[in-house]
Amino acid sequence: MKKPMIFSQFFKNNGAVMGSALIGLVAFWLIFLIILPQLSMLDYSFRYNLPPAEVGGPKDVYTLSNYEHLIYGSDSSHQTYNTVDLKVFMRTILAAMLVTIFNIFLCYPLAYFLGQSKGSGFVRLLVVLLIIPYWINEILRAFALRIIFGDSGLLNEALMFLHLTSAPIDFIRQDIALYAGLGYAYILLMLFPMYNVIESLDRNQIEAARDMGASWLHIHRRIVIPYAKPGIVSGATMVFMLSAGALAAPQILGGPSSLWFTQLVYQWFNDSLNWQQGAAYAIVLLVSTIVIVLTVMRVFKVNMGDIGK
């Protein structure tokens, strides 16, 4: 894509040494860490799982069988469709969406409050308090929730103490712990983009609207939310992608009978040692999440450039 003319200009701007160092680093990143690994995974997902001796032999041909397995299941099963895996997939996508929506509603008021009340000591304290859980390991955060949601965990003890329930509720098996854990894990990735955008909103706009008699709801619907849209979509994208691709929280907080799609991928890789099948599942996850995100961004008219702000 890059034409030689641009290259020569680039080297003129940066000098030969610096220019090639920059290009070299960026090219290494783009080609060897981003593009080729994804392509090789794609290639891998269309191949049979062969013993090492047969790799490159006549049997090493492209196939759709790995993808067919996700939809139709193995030949030995009696069902028409691979209902188990498809259910897991649907559940993962839907639950990730729900977690995202839940996070939007939970974070918006705080982002607005923090963004619009500038500089006071209390707000600074809140921001410091927000940053602390941000740097605690994902595993440890899931572990913390497990202590709370466990059979003899704090929540059950409290509920029983208050006589709201007589027997412990199995939060883990009912996946309540999992959803709470996913929401908990990525909530700050929703909050900070929203906060950053709302912080830059001119207070005068709100004041003006209020002076003209706009209601509280109206101010948010017509001024704050449209302005904060890039932040909200950016946060939602991050939370959705990370929840759909989460592995630690489902492994720790998920019930024994219910799986997350990434756990299926993990099983194909580490338990069944079928990398090709695992790669196919990973591709399905990647493509479907990206399609969903791009659709949402198209619907809400947000650019890729807004992500990560």
């Binding site: 920059l22 410091v128 202590i147 704090l154 691709g245 990434t262 591709i283 450039g305």
Partner: protein, 419 residues
């Protein structure tokens, strides 16, 4: 005014809920680190104890995990900071039409699920090895199947995007005229980079390095695929948590939380100090109070809290050397045994009553010709219970061995293993 008050109350309640959701689990987890019970819990509280810290410090897997995490973290910082810096500089110069495509490509790794990144790295370098025809046991084959090498590459793929964002934010404020001037004055491009751009970028490089190290240190999704035979702290922790939870993990979490609070407070204190100095330099600063407190503490609540926290940690470490929960533990154990005994007695009592009731019903209910029936029940529940018709005697009797055994198995092993 009542509506304003209502809003204030609602806001307060909301803040309370939000922050308890955010911080509550961490507080609970920290507390469980000090409970001597073998299962992490705050209630029932057994004894205040430091023993889980000792368990943690003696855990070889965790120490190895920390070592490898640090090694990988340093590698990732070096690779991702240099790639991120290069990418951000290229972004400022790239041909405008290519700009958005380029930006999408270098921002994409943030959005790719970590699991996918891990798999693709693993598959790709395996294929590179196969493509180059490296044989088993050769140096390159070892490198391409080395967990540390693969993890650094896998993590850098997306961490470089984070660092790139930090650099882009800083570069927007860079005056390119400075570089032009240096070049006009005869500096080479390399010199201009080293003497002009790099010093300007230094704060961004520092924060990007910290960010990259922390992101690498706590990464799980990518690492779990690429780490192969090695173990980082997170993969060790994940394995431990999945196999069965125990409070030594809480004690590790407590240490990490305290360190994080220290870092956050130190950062905040330094910031405030800088703000204050800036204000003083501009003549707006308050006149220095000559108090007992050193000057950096005045008007700086974060610094005060920092000093208090440091004091608390010192006190804790000091008491940990002397404090012994043994006496308390024995008391708890005895209390627990009494509790178990009580439960057994209560169960027995209810069972006896049931049997009495059944025995009373039996003659009226069933055919009178089956006297064996009652003994069948008796065999199942408590042998010999029906033979003696003196219930009072039963209570005073020493526990029949079979009963204790049966119920003891239900209650005891979990509870007593903590001792």
């Amino acid at each position: 005014m009542s509506s304003a008050n209502l809003i204030r109350v609602a806001l307060g309640a909301y803040l309370l809920i939000f922050f308890s959701y955010l911080l509550g689990p961490l507080v609970v987890m920290s507390l469980t680190a000090f409970n001597s019970a073998s299962f992490p819990a705050v209630s029932p509280w057994a004894c205040f104890s430091y023993e889980w810290f000792e368990v943690l410090f003696n855990d070889k897997h965790i120490r190895d995990g920390i070592y490898y995490s640090v090694v990988i973290g340093i590698g990732t910082v070096i690779l991702s900071v240099s790639m991120g810096l290069a990418a951000s500089i290229v972004l400022t110069q790239v041909w405008p039409k290519l700009r958005s495509t380029y930006y999408t490509m270098i921002i994409a790794p943030i959005l790719i699920p970590g699991v996918v990144l891990g798999i693709s790295t693993l598959v790709f370098w395996d294929r590179v090895g196969a493509f180059l025809g490296v044989s088993d046991g050769s140096l390159l084959h070892g490198l391409f199947h080395n967990g540390i090498f693969l993890t650094i590459l896998g993590q850098s793929t997306f961490i470089a995007s984070y660092t790139m964002l930090v650099f882009v934010a800083r570069l927007q404020r860079f005056d390119t005229d400075l570089t032009e001037a240096a070049l006009d004055l005869g500096a080479t491009h390399t010199q201009a980079f080293r003497k002009v751009l790099l010093p300007f970028m230094r704060p961004a490089i520092a924060s990007a390095s910290v960010l990259a190290f922390l992101a690498s240190f706590e990464n799980y999704n990518t690492t779990t695929f690429t780490i192969l035979e090695y173990k980082t702290l997170t993969t060790v922790l994940a394995q431990k948590v999945r196999l069965g939870i125990n409070p030594s993990i809480s004690s590790l979490a407590f240490i990490i939380i305290v360190l994080t609070i220290f870092a956050a407070l130190a950062f905040e204190a330094a910031n405030r100090n800088k703000d204050r100095k800036l204000a003083a330099a501009q003549g707006r600063g308050v006149t220095q109070k000559s108090g007992i407190l050193p000057s950096f503490l005045t008007g700086n609540p974060a610094a005060v809290v920092l000093v208090l926290l440091a004091f608390m940690v010192i006190v804790m470490v000091g008491t940990a050397q002397r404090y012994s929960p043994e006496a308390c533990k024995i008391a708890v154990r005895e209390a627990k045994q009494i509790e178990i005994q009580k439960r057994i007695d209560a169960l027995k009592e209810t069972r006896r009553q049931k049997e009495d009731a059944k025995a009373a019903q039996q003659p009226s209910n069933a055919a009178p010709a089956t006297p064996n029936n009652s003994s069948a029940f008796g065999n199942v529940f408590a042998p010999g219970n029906l033979s003696g018709d003196a219930p009072e005697q039963k209570v005073d009797e020493p526990e029949p061995q079979s009963g204790t055994g049966a119920f003891g198995n239900v209650f005891a092993p979990d509870n007593l293993s903590s001792d």
